[in-house]
Amino acid sequence: MPTVVLMDVSLSMTRPVQLDGTEEFQRKNLAVHGLTMLFEHMATNYRLEFTALVAFSSLWELMVPFTRDYNTLQEALNNLEDYDKTCLEPALQGVSNIVQQEWGSTCPCQVVLVTDGSLGIGRGSLRHSLSTIKHRSEDKKFPLPFPFPAKLYIMCIANAEELQNSDTLDNLEQLLSLNGGEGQIFTVEGPLCLKNVQSLFGKLIDQAYTPFHAVLRCGNLSSDVQVFPRPEPVIMDEEVDPAPRTILTDLEIVGFIEIGDISSPPVLSRHLVLPIAVNKDVDEMGTGTTDETEEENSANQMAGKSPNFCVLLHGSLKVEGMVALVQLGPEWYGMLYSQADSKKKSNLMMSLFEPGPEPLPWLGKVSQLGPTSDAKENPYGEDDSKSPFPLQPKSKRSYAQNVTVWIKPSGLQTDVQKILRNARKLPEKTQTFYKELNRLRKAALAFGFWDLLKGVADLLERECTLLPDTAHPDAAFQLSHAAQQLKLASTGDSQYAAFDHNITPMLTDFSGSGSSDRDRM
């Protein structure tokens, strides 16, 4: 989930903070201090997160495009200048554009708005934007809700008491509800000082940037892993099952499936599965100072040299072209596979399926998947030539079963033509002739289209008269037999118009001297 930091650089941010005894701070300094802490946290514990920095006042500017280089972000943060008044709406529109340009409209994002809570006055103020929200034309809509799934975290460099004097909190809450309630407003507890701002950003970190650690297991083999980005809770049906589902920290592999069999399944999200050192103080170590980094490096080197299950699993999945099915929670599954990027690097990746007992129709119910050794004979064949997948659905879809649709005249004409084509090739095509004839008959009966039956009967009778002298005598018999049967069906007489009844070829015998025209109905 990429992050956009939206930093208020309006003049009000330069308001000094009263602190007795110590040097004087501006609110901006406090905000920078908090963001520095956030960036440091991300650089060590969340370093794959892409972050962009946008500064805004009456205008907005993308200071740092999406990057994982937290030094650049920090540098830009330290060099922010002060500008005029606060106009939030265009800034939010800017964020929306920046995110869509970079990640499209399906990638979930986090927006961290850092402001002092004075959201402008008059035109361009948030209050003004919100009051006009219902009277907008289509092209000037308020940027929230964002077109992409977004969490909006509002960091107020102000405490709740001073915000209560204005309608700021109401406006911000309205902003959140416009975003579908996704996000949170944080205010400073107690007096404004470095310590309280630290705890403010600490809350944000706890809420949104704690790494997700889990144990990946395959029977007795296991590895500690970080799953990045953090899997977010999912709500399936807000009516029947409104509780959000979260994935377990114990990820259990339940078995393996070939890539061809799982065949590009739809997934909710994708996550890197990064093995982490078992030694707990290795990954939690270091706030970025140099000697600690060295220590960390050597610790990493050590970790690099002790065998890790993730690496083994990744290697085999890659070589074999398989995926591991992994259980994420009750009736929730995902898959692990090797993902190579363009630079020949590859990684262990986990995709989450939609929660539910049967996420992929072609696998069937996941709980009904079992070991091949339980099957009477190997479903993959002794030489791996077969596969039990995909599972065939109980009923065929319309396009797979030669349905009859006569909504367009061409549909009906094609079906009549098929019968005629086969009629001219009797008796060789007797089987197909009757097959097509019966298909037409069934549809005509179902649609109550008896006139068509009569029409086709006439058509066949005429064909009979047009038969060339060279024609096989059987052709004439079959044609008049078929015509007669259709006529009978068109009366609606239950004896002849039964849906399940099929017109069978007339039994003729031209091998001997006499012909028998027994009708085997």
């Binding site: 399906t106 077109p147 007795n220 083999l221 590895s223 029947v240 078995g255 393996f256 061809g260 590009s264 739809p266 997934v267 050192a277 080197q301 050590m302 970790a303 690099g304 040299k305 002790s306 065998p307 690496v311 083994l312 290697g315 085999s316 070589v319 398989m322 990684n347 262990l348 072609w362 996941v366 009904q368 998947l369 070991p371 091949t372 050794s373 339980d374 479903p379 039990p388 995909p390 599972l391 659905p393 109980k394 065929k396 879809r397 319309s398 396009y399 004409q413 094609t414 009549v416 001219r424 179902a446 649609f447 109550g448 008896w450 068509l452 029409g455 058509l459 005429r462 609606g492 849906f499």
Partner: protein, 707 residues
Amino acid sequence: MKMFSISHKTAFVVDHCPYMAESCRQQVEFDMLTKNRPQGVIPLAPVSKSLWTCAVECSMEYCRILYDIYPTRKLVNFIVSDSEFHILNSWNQADQSTQELMAALAAVGPPNPHEDPECCSILHGLMAAVESLCKITEYQHEARTTLMDKADRVSNRGRIICITNAKSDTHVRMLEDYVQETIQEQNKLAISSDRLMQIQQCELVLIHTYPFGEETLVSDRPKKEISPVLTSEVHSVRAGRHLASKLNILVQQHFDLASTTITNIPMKPTLNVCDQEEQHANTSANYDVELLHHRDAHMEFIKSGTTSRDSGLKETVTLKWCTPRTNSVELHFCTGAYRISPVDVNSRPSSCLTNFLLNGRSVLLEQPRKSGSKVISHMLSSHGGEIFLHVLNCTRSTLEDPPSISEGCGGRVTDYRITDFGEFMRENRLTPFPDVQGSEVAGKVPLERAKRQLERHTRYWPMIISQTTIFNMQAVVPLASLIVKESLTEEDVLTCQKTIYNLVDMERKNDPLPISTVGTRGKGPKRDEQYRIMWNELETLVRTHMGSSERHQRVLDCVLACRSKPPEEEDRKKRGRKREDREDKGEKNGKDSESERSWQESERLKAALERDREELAEAEVIKDSPDSPEPLNKKPRLEVEDVQPAEKAKGPVSLLTMWTNRINTANSRKHQEFAGRVNSVNNKAELYQHLKDENGMDPHENGKAMR
């Protein structure tokens, strides 16, 4: 997403009254001229469909699209109405198919034009539809039973689609009022029944249809709220193709569908796309095929507002066919897969496309762009006879350029047993089993069995080649693959025993073993030391399975009996036999406690052994690198000291402990002798050199032998 939205239940009510037998007054030529027809034949008179035929075939088309895209959970109840109502199917999933409905419709037949119009009414059907909406579906029932006390979360909503020929707007109003009243009545009845549910929301879609060329007596009206429970809309359409396109639009609205047109489909015979039965085999052209699917497949377009409008009302997204290159198996990053239904199912282009896909090929679809790079945003692919439109991710990935796995933990280790684990994965592939009722109770849920199998197969599974001897030996394979089984046959035990005897044989012949020499200087351990390591490992493997069954235990017994022993240990065998006798007696008294204790014992032993082994491996790996930290080598010694007292500290000594202790003493004695022997062969200076170099290795080996 709501499971029980209005679209969960659709009641179709089609008018079967005498006036529906009237012609729609649109003629269909069915006697077409073909080139090989003799001259001078007058074509037969065209036929015309009745209003009934139009209504039925359009509603069947509605159902066809619905069932293609939602094979389950979206249910149709088909009702026809004349002097009474005829319910053609039920809400049961098994009844949901167009074939079923067609058969039932054939039984009903066309309306009888000579029936008394006074007795016939659409009201019978509407009443039946409301009653039917109150009936609980199997899905609602299932949800209610699983939710128990929260059963009220399961709602009951539905839609009635009524195709009729109304007389006037007042007539329509009367129909609406009738439905409203019936809902009220039925809801009262439903309170007191288990199999009925009150209707919370009902959407009435009245379609007035009339012959071509006539003036309509009923006006269109958009959706209007009749009551909090009932909304109603009126569509007035001419029969025939107008009715068909109306129902096509409705099915899209009712089920959140959208349309995609695949353009540029080549139908060259070389591509094998088309069946060559028809005459046009030598011509090639590009065709378009329109598909319907859930509109979420267009999420990206909807959000960015780039849906293109074709011909007025119709909204479709055009995507370009990309001729598939190979049949390579690739795992695409796909964010959604939606079932499709062709709009024109049996047109030639449609059936060519669907047959091509059903034969197992996938087609990538490209967004048509005037300039810039090619963007592949969708893929068509069939799975088990169902075609899906996959949505591919075509924006920048937030996971790009991740650190390679070789840079992380365990990334520097080069001798993973990749091939062996691949084999392990093949053995643990999953396969579907039929859903048998009551299987949960017996603990036979297939997935649970799969997990159990994984657990068994990984009880002893060294990850790297240098950590193992036995898994590098072809001779061990039969035993290693059998011992992980849940139960062994007599034959399996025999095979295992044979494998063990074979190893004994190898040892006698002094065959070389594939012991890893990684990290050791010189030639590595001596031959008998190699065998000792091998037997230790084999014992570890078999021991982890000894609790599985009595036959597994017998394999372990065989290993213990056969593994190499120093000569003076011959008498131990006799005692061993005695022990077995005693164990037999013991079995009668407290079999359970005995086995449990021995299991604990073995577990601890295993754990200790494993720990040692890991240390050993680590030590080996680290030694490989010149800049490895020195102090770590001291660890194993501590470990060994830890283990020893723990075993001695145990209170009442079990037979197994006695036995193990004996072996330990024997082994340690043996080891000392070994040291002496080494001493006598080599000179002292070299020995100390060796110890100094391999500091940590030797004590470690010692420690192992001590136990």
